[in-house]
Amino acid sequence: MWLPVLGLIIGVILGLMTDIKVPDEYSNYLSIAVLAALDTLFGGVRAQLQNIYDEKVFVSGFFFNILLAASLAFLGVHLGVDLYLAAVFAFGVRLFQNIAVIRRILIAKWSQNREKTEKNDI
């Protein structure tokens, strides 16, 4: 459980330490890729909590979503339409939904645990 969090922290530290900067015109792509990655991450967490986690789906979804989002943004830039907004919208909505589901599951688990402990106390 703590290993992924540790990985996240390691990743952040690595990123901060390497001092890499993306050129301004590409920061759009990176932001949308980050959004896609976050979406996939929370999707994975939710799937794990619902016991329907599939590693292949998770890993492939991660890379595929990032590529799709970036290429959508690229297409948008070349067509003159802000297509990346579509990706932002889709990922944003899904992010919220996933987080909501995770919260419900966690709350349900927590209340179950409390009922158990109360029963044990009695």
Partner: protein
Amino acid sequence: MDSKKKFSFTFITVVIGFMIAIQFQTVKEPAVRDTRDTWQLRADILKEKELQLKLLREISSNEEKIAQYETKRKQSKEQVLRETLEELKREAGLSEVTGPGIIISIEPVHEELLLGKQADSVSPDLLKRLVNELNMYDAQHISIGGRRIINTTVIRDINRETMIDGFALNHLPIEVKVITENAQSAEKLFNRMQVSNSAEEFFIDNLRVKVEKSAEPITIPAYDEALRIRYMEPVKPDEGGKS
């Protein structure tokens, strides 16, 4: 969750963390916040303005220098010599000239076609006569069929072809461009050529002369060969005007 799954999950989170950190660094560009107060800002503005003033002063002094050099160059002997050279070149026919003038076209008389006899070239004598006439009426620059006529130009018959400085003139119609000093003299020349005898003389050779006034300035090409002057000598001051 088995260890393999955990490993892949961790790998993905590392990547995500890396991406987030980079994005964070990219977005967070002005790392130092501006915390100067009004007086500090004023002082900074003053400093910048002084710099601006200094730069402006430098620019104006440089511009002044440029202007000085320009006037010096203009007044220098070199410039005078250059101008004289340009003028002489223009007079000698070594530079392209544009100005007001007339265009004379020499073409075969079409009616002669019916008689089966057609003029195919212009005789050099006629051309010489035409050039002399033009010069008489204040023509300044003349070209015949795109060849510039200068003082040393030879118009002659070589193997029954009329040559101007060695270039054959066998395509009728021939265009003769004449540039005069100004529009007025162009008008005068036009009127004179309308009534000149040369038209009749050309007509005897089955050629028709058409004189046109050109609304736009005429351009006459430069003489493009080296000038060979063999028998010319500068006049010595004390001998001048004897002959």
